[in-house]
């Protein structure tokens, strides 16, 4: 196997998620190369070696400064054709989804997305992807090469293998149509914290809170964890919290790494909006609450006592 991993970067740092995918690639057969595209990014190449790449291709050009997908398709396509990579991996983001799909069209190459695992079986590469609101898992594959894959955010943790990679600068040649879209104003880190759809961590509050003023407990914990605040239909109906934060059948569907449900009974209308979460912790004083059927950790107790203590402990840990 000869794998190329697309590494995304933001404000001078390689994205953790991309590095995780790089680490996974290093576990598979064959050699692993990385691609870093941007402007003034040579400094990032060294990091790629530490996380599993034996070779790093750097496409450095002012035209690549803005995080726009189409020029990156040109660079990646060129690289794949020149060096014959049979597999190209991406950690999924808004940007890489567009790059991977554009590349699939350019090379007429198969793309499987939202994968949560990759493995080799009898010489074939097989991906695992959840479907139908994470209620089934599908084994997917590629009929020929190159094989393109988008890995679901947060699937693989970076592993520092401490190696060194050979760095090669690549010439950048872009199609006319690829440079027609121009970045006028680039986004910068939001100071308010992530929206619930993008959040890695969500703390959600339900009727068990007792009143809108108690959402402060939920907000404090979310802030300490660097996460977003969500609400159930019942409390949104009652006007305690805005509809934009509602999770559930008639609200948003989320699948963060960590979902802490505070004072939520967990009826199926809520469950379908968050059952794909990686780790679910529930705090409720009712031992018969349905949420205890599917939470990973269920704590039966008074949230007014548990949540502030939890917030404090989290703050201490993070400070340390």
């Amino acid at each position: 196997m000869s794998t190329l991993v697309f590494l995304e970067h933001h404000e001078g740092e390689l994205q953790k998620d991309s590095l995780g995918v790089l680490g996974k690639a290093a576990q598979l057969d064959g050699d692993v190369s990385a691609l870093i595209a941007g402007s003034r990014v040579e400094g990032l190449a060294a990091q790629a070696g530490k996380y599993g790449a034996t070779k790093v291709y750097v496409a450095d050009d002012p035209a690549l400064e803005a995080p726009l997908p189409q020029p990156r398709v040109d660079v990646a396509a060129d690289l794949v054709r020149r060096h014959g990579f049979d597999t190209v991996l991406f950690g999924a983001t808004v940007l890489t989804a567009d790059v991977a799909a554009g590349l699939a069209a350019r090379l007429d190459a198969g793309l499987n997305w939202d994968l949560v695992d990759l493995a080799e079986h009898n010489g074939k590469l097989v991906g695992k992807r959840p479907a139908l609101d994470d209620t089934v898992y599908v084994d997917v594959g590629w009929k020929n090469e190159p094989r393109l894959a988008l890995i679901r955010t947060g699937t693989f943790e970076p592993v520092e293998s401490g190696g060194e990679a050979e760095v090669e600068q690549v010439a950048v040649e872009l199609e006319d149509f690829s440079t027609q879209a121009k970045m006028i104003e680039q986004a910068h880190e939001e100071s308010e914290g992530p929206s619930i759809e993008d959040a890695d961590v969500i703390v959600a509050g339900g009727r068990g809170l007792g009143g809108p003023e108690n959402f402060a407990l939920v907000e404090e914990l979310a802030k300490a964890l660097g996460g977003a605040v969500a609400a159930t239909r019942a409390v949104v109906d009652a006007g305690w919290y805005p509809y934009s934060t509602q999770v559930g059948q008639t609200g948003k569907t989320v699948a963060p790494r960590l979902y802490i449900a505070v004072g939520i009974s967990g009826a199926v209308q809520h469950k379908v909006g968050m059952q794909g979460s990686n780790v679910i912790v529930a705090i409720n004083k009712d031992p018969n609450a349905p949420i205890f059927e599917y939470a990973d950790l269920g704590v039966v107790g008074d949230l007014h006592e548990i949540v502030p203590k939890l917030t404090e402990l989290v703050r201490q840990r993070k400070a340390a």
Binding site: R233, V236, Y243, Q249, T250, A267, V268, Q269, V272
Partner: protein, 559 residues
């Protein structure tokens, strides 16, 4: 003790009646407007299509859209729910020479049937009462039958308009001019949201109301045109489930007795049905008259309790619940029918006016027959070319219904339900006498009290409801989910009830409602309208269900 009728809903029928208001050039005109894509409405549309096919001159006079069917559900079938064992005679007449019985979506004829009297731990087989014999009848899912009838209606040239609620009857100078459709895109406080779309006036030469149980415009029309029957209407609430089963059921089962109580003071009239749907599916339901008095009665929970009986549990073992739903059934019978079924420009068909044979548990074939008769009457009037809005122009419809088997059947069993108001044992004896004498004995017509006028009482009935185990028994919220209900949360509240009510009334409603819309709270009751599956029970017991935004509510597929 309190009666639900002590707290009448904040609703007046005049809200549902209005003159046309859209400017002339914006008004939508159709030939015949049929409200409701259920068996009655669709049979009407199909029959009209058949008649218009052979009378192009009449069709032309009806304009670009000769027949329109207005349906508030997401699609035809979404709001249809019944047992059901259907007498095929009306369908055979409707499709005579066009479709055979085996081309219709039935699950097979009824071969064997059993009736049981249940106690908590026994099932005693009793002979099938003659009114309940089902030989020659077919098992069906009404939702599936509705979808199939809609396809036939579409092929017959009708325009079916789903996701459209008919909220007002357009009446001008004493005659019905059509209907007005409901607004879409209003918020919780009725404010106009960014995508607000106002309803429209739909003008029609003849309007057929086939709204089914608790018909919104039907009720308004009956009051407005003075069509009230001898007795007030009363209803039963049916809650049912469909299960995928490990072993096929090979007979139709009805049960009486447990978990209902026989004592006269409880007024718990009803029973259960268990029908096979092919080899893999079974449908079962609990039907209870809404004249019950105990605040702790919950038909949904009685169904869950029923499933714990040995007889039923065995049938469902190894199976999986795949559908749930609830709907009311008009039970007043013959004496509660409106005294006239027409008004200038208006015809009433199906469950709306109440064509249900309670002892036989049949209403679908009457809906189809009255729908077809309404079509024939409408067509005859249109063909004569006279002003259909003239008084008496549609009287031929009433004539036709009175000559039909519908009338005969209902008249024969007219006092049966009322007999059971006296309790199971006396009721049973009276019912037996009525059957044997084909309705001649006892003589006279029994009276009925509206369900909302029954005085409440309290026992500790709820104690024996099983806790939901998620495998055999289920809670209300997960059941609402299974009904496909995805009504948006910020929709306006379509349920009219007084909210400052005494605790026993709040509890009555909370338990009565299969969808957990009502919850007792300090000083009264809290209403979560978006759970509503539009069964209509609240209208029987002191409140009023009005049509919510078109397209909302349950999305039944196999009920």
């Amino acid at each position: 003790m309190t009666k639900p009728s002590d707290f009448p809903p904040p609703f007046s029928v005049s809200e549902a009646i209005a003159p046309p208001t859209d400017p002339e050039d914006e008004r939508i005109e159709v030939g015949v407007a049929i409200v409701g894509a259920g068996p009655a409405g669709l049979a009407c549309a199909i029959r009209l299509g058949q008649l218009l096919e052979d009378a192009p001159a009449v069709a032309e006079r009806l304009g670009e859209v000769p027949v329109a069917v207005i349906e508030k559900g997401k699609q035809p079938g979404s709001h249809l729910l019944s047992g059901a064992v259907v007498n095929p005679r009306a369908l055979q007449r409707l499709f005579a020479g066009r479709k055979r019985l085996d081309e219709m979506p039935f699950y097979g004829p009824v071969d064997q049937e059993s009736v049981y009297f249940l106690t908590s731990n026994r099932a005693v087989r009793i002979p099938t009462p003659p009114t309940m014999k089902n030989h020659g009848n077919r098992v069906a899912s009404l939702a599936e039958l509705g979808r199939w009838l809609a396809e036939q209606a579409d092929e017959a040239g009708a325009m079916i308009l789903p996701e459209t609620a008919a909220t007002k009857l357009l009446v001008d100078h004493g005659r019905v001019r059509g209907i007005r459709t409901g607004d879409k895109g209003r918020g919780r406080d009725n404010e106009e949201l960014p995508n607000f779309e106002p309803g429209s006036d739909v003008g029609a030469r003849i309007t057929v109301l086939a709204e089914g149980t608790q018909g919104h415009l039907t009720g308004a029309a009956i009051e407005r045109f003075g069509l009230e029957g001898e007795n007030p209407q009363v209803w039963a609430l049916g809650v049912k489930e469909v299960w995928r089963v490990a072993r096929p059921l090979r007979r139709v089962i009805h049960t009486l007795g447990w978990p209902l109580r026989a004592g006269a003071k409880y007024r718990e009239f009803g029973g259960s049905f268990i029908y096979p749907m092919g080899d893999d599916l079974v449908t079962l339901g609990m039907v209870v008259g809404l004249d019950y008095r105990d605040v702790e009665v919950s038909v949904h929970d009685l169904l869950q309790e029923l499933k714990t009986h040995r007889l039923v549990r065995r049938l469902l073992e190894g199976g999986e619940r795949i559908a749930w739903g609830a709907k009311t059934i008009p039970e007043g019978g013959f004496l509660s029918l409106p005294k006239r079924l027409h008004a200038p420009g208006l015809l009433l068909a199906g469950d709306g006016p109440g064509f249900v044979n309670v002892p036989a548990l049949k209403g679908i074939h009457y809906a189809i027959e009255t729908g077809a008769l309404a079509a024939e009457a409408a067509f005859a009037a249109l063909q004569r070319g006279e002003a259909v809005g003239r008084r008496g122009a549609l009287a031929c419809y009433d004539e036709a219904v009175r000559q039909s088997f519908v009338w005969r059947d209902l008249q024969e069993v007219r006092n049966m339900r009322q007999a059971f108001g006296r309790g199971f044992w006396l009721g049973g004896a009276l019912a037996g006498a009525m059957t044997a004498s084909r309705g001649k004995f006892p003589p006279g017509d029994a009276g009925t009290e509206p369900d909302a006028e029954q005085e409440l009482l309290r026992t500790d009935r709820a104690r024996s409801y099983p806790a939901a185990d998620g495998k055999l028994t289920f809670d209300k919220l997960s059941s609402v989910f299974l009904s496909g209900n995805k009504t948006r949360d910020d929709a306006p509240n379509h349920i009219r009830v007084q909210t400052e009510v005494p605790p026993e009334l709040a509890e009555l409603w909370a338990r009565m409602c299969p969808a957990q819309v009502y919850e007792p709270k300090e000083g009264g009751v809290e209403v979560t309208a978006s759970n509503c599956v539009q069964c209509g029970a609240i209208t029987a017991k002191g409140g009023r269900l009005t049509p919510p935004e078109g397209g909302s509510g349950p999305e039944y597929t196999v009920t």
